[in-house]
């Protein structure tokens, strides 16, 4: 789960991490009493706001309102800006970087920091990034902060504030089931205070059940993805036109790869997982059809999944929607032959391998 900046700030504040004052607005008029001077920022879930013109400065209420009006309604990436956040302009002396993520190989949280904040961390040379692991289960020990402070080489007063913020970030990381907590820039102000200039937070989707308050927050999903998510279906919309549906994440990825390698362009990642519930298969297909694919390639390698039940769901969905999209199916597994019959009865094409299926789907796709 990703969070709008203002929401991330709110959660940071809850954990005692200093963030600038700010107000949220859905219209210029909403900005009655913004902190001044301020920076008015588009609230979108993608990066690159600055370049797109989604960040503006204001010294008066009227300027702030103008900025808000200019930004609201703007398109940034796939999103239309619906809200802006007017945030106290900080008087920054130095920009640092601080984050906690997960290091898969080390199986431990990773604390990263740099005195070269304010830019994308990927663009900072590795020798200017301090990386220290946080021991799992025992948690953040003083030595981690000691090493961080020493290697950053910050003055004592700044270092102690950074340590305090790092400690609170780790509490947030654990307490909120975060995948990423990032402050960039972590601003050292001219008056000596250290404040989170920006706040990035990504929470583990799998921990949604522990944070029902987050479940309702808007995510960077397309409307169709949102619909699928609500039904518990793993569905991602991609740039291409051929609908790919398979069972299992790896096989779905491989199916898309083969489609693309055969000259097609995969337009959906739809993973049925282990399900053969005909109702769910039907719903998944309905969502897929709404994406208006030029062809559909269904690739099932069944373990438990019953191929015939899947086939039934598919044919029912196509029939119910009255869709005339070409469907190529490659089904292996339980009741394979029965599935082929059902599909053939509905005018669909059965093939033996992924490659054949991909080739046929590419060949049969309708013109856009």
């Amino acid at each position: 789960m990703k969070f709008y900046e203002y929401k991330a700030h709110e959660i940071f504040r809850k954990h005692g991490i200093p963030v600038p004052r700010g107000v949220l607005a859905a219209s210029g008029e909403d900005l009655v009493d913004p902190p001044l001077p301020c920076v008015v920022k588009a609230q979108v879930l993608v990066g690159g706001r600055g370049k797109a013109g989604g960040i503006k400065f204001a010294h008066t209420v009227e300027e702030a309102r103008q900025a808000a009006r200019a930004i609201l309604g703007m398109r940034i990436g796939p999103y239309t800006v619906r809200q802006v956040y007017a945030q106290e302009l900080l008087d920054i002396a130095q920009e640092l970087y601080l984050s906690i993520t997960i290091d898969r190989s080390a199986r431990a949280p990773l604390l990263m920091a740099s005195t070269r904040g304010g830019v994308e961390i990927e663009s900072v040379p590795p020798e200017h990034i301090v990386r220290v692991h946080i021991p799992p289960l025992v948690g953040l020990q003083p030595f981690v902060l000691r090493n961080l402070a020493k290697r950053l080489g910050l003055p004592r007063e700044v270092a102690s504030q950074v340590s305090d913020i790092a400690k609170k970030m780790y509490a947030l990381f654990r307490g909120e089931d975060a995948e990423v907590v990032e402050i960039n820039p972590l601003a050292v102000l001219k008056d000596g205070r250290v404040v989170a200039g920006d706040a990035k937070l990504v929470v583990d989707d799998n921990a949604e059940y522990r944070h029902p308050e987050y479940a309702k927050l808007p995510q960077d999903r397309t409307p169709l993805e949102e619909e699928a998510h609500d039904e518990g279906i793993t569905f991602i919309q991609l740039d291409g036109d051929i609908g790919a549906i398979a069972n299992g994440a790896g096989l779905t990825m491989a199916t898309l790869d083969v489609l693309n390698l055969k000259g097609g362009r995969g337009g959906t990642f739809l993973d049925l997982g282990g399900t053969d519930d005909p109702e769910l298969v039907k719903r998944a297909f309905e969502i897929l059809l709404k994406a208006n694919p030029s062809a559909i390639f269904l690739n099932i390698f069944g373990g438990i999944t019953k191929a015939d039940t899947v086939a039934l769901g598919v044919t029912e969905a196509i029939e119910a929607m009255g869709a005339d999209v070409p469907v190529v199916a490659r089904i292996k597994g339980v009741n394979e032959d029965k599935a082929k019959q059902i599909l053939a009865g509905a005018g669909m094409h059965s093939v033996g391998t992924i490659e054949e299926g991909a080739e046929l789907a590419v060949k049969l796709r309708r013109a856009a």
Binding site: G250, M253, A254, I354
Partner: protein, 286 residues
């Protein structure tokens, strides 16, 4: 011999009375697995396909001497059930459950190491030592005994590849589904180390995918092995920033791309298949 799973494995099934638990217990028994116990709190005293059910892992181990466990327990209860298994002194724990919060997995994996328990998964299809025993959910019919190990981050894609191997006459020692989550108990390189030491295994097939650096680490290790390794990497055409089904399958901050993995394999002299079913052809070439 094979790895992790053999005739001496005495398997316990946590969550045995559920739909999945019952189904796979039957399939594991059919594969010849010595399934000695099932666990579900409150269902002690029942039987599932002739396997006695206990209220706790400890009772199951005390009575049946189970030394391994496979877990079909919903994600919110998975941490509890995993620690319970670890405390009951099994040596191996296969966690099939998907969608476990990774902070929970982190705790479980760390504690299991303290207790010397090997964890496979979570979010994995488990283990199968062809024709000997299965602690997993793979279809039995795709396996045939032979000298090749398989390590995979994926489920059905592995079945696809194992099926192709079997049809081409390349049988398997053990197939290890390590799982698709960012934090897993046994990494690709750790599984590869096991195969490197296994005298029965003559070569290893790696089924990787985008996300993380597991393939790169495995490639570095493969270079030091005196057995051939072959690989397939899923997600070669996946767009960055999208989580492709598996929690671990994401290209983020330029990390975890298929190109990086394919390059690492190439540098290590590990042939990479273009299509999944090309793996047998690569093995044939040696």
């Amino acid at each position: 011999m094979a790895v992790l799973l053999d005739k001496s494995t005495r398997l316990m099934v946590q969550g045995i009375t559920g739909h999945q638990g019952q189904f796979h217990t039957k399939a594991m028994l059919e594969h010849g697995t010595n399934v000695v116990a099932g666990v579900l709190p409150g269902k002690g005293g029942q039987e599932v396909h002739g396997v006695p059910v206990f209220d706790s892992c400890q009772e199951a181990v005390d009575v049946t001497d189970a030394n391994a466990s496979i877990m079909f327990v919903p994600a919110p209860y998975a941490k509890d059930a995993s620690i319970e298994a670890v405390e009951s002194r099994v040596r191996l724990l296969v966690i099939v459950t998907e969608r476990i919060p990774f902070h929970d997995t982190l705790d479980v994996v760390t504690y299991a190491r303290a207790k010397g328990v090997q964890i496979i998964g979570p979010n994995c299809p488990g283990l199968c030592t062809a024709g000997v025993a299965k602690a997993g959910i793979m279809p039995n019919h795709i396996f045939t005994p032979g000298p090749y190990g398989v390590i995979s981050r994926s489920g059905t894609l592995t079945y696809e590849i194992v099926d192709a191997m079997t049809k081409a006459g390349f049988g398997q020692t053990t197939c290890v589904g390590i799982g698709g989550d960012p934090i897993i108990g046994t990494s690709m390189v750790e599984a590869l180390e096991l195969f490197a030491r296994d005298p029965e295994t003559k070569g290893v097939v790696l089924v990787g995918e985008i996300g993380g650096t597991a393939e790169e680490e495995a490639a570095r290790f493969a270079k030091t092995m005196d057995k051939p390794v072959w690989a397939y990497v899923a997600g070669q055409t996946a767009p960055p920033g999208k989580r492709m089904g598996h929690a671990g399958a994401i290209i983020a901050q330029g990390m975890g791309t298929a190109e990086s993995k394919v390059r690492a394999f190439a540098e290590a002299g590990v042939p990479v298949a273009k299509y999944p079913r090309d793996i047998p052809e690569l093995i044939r070439r040696g």
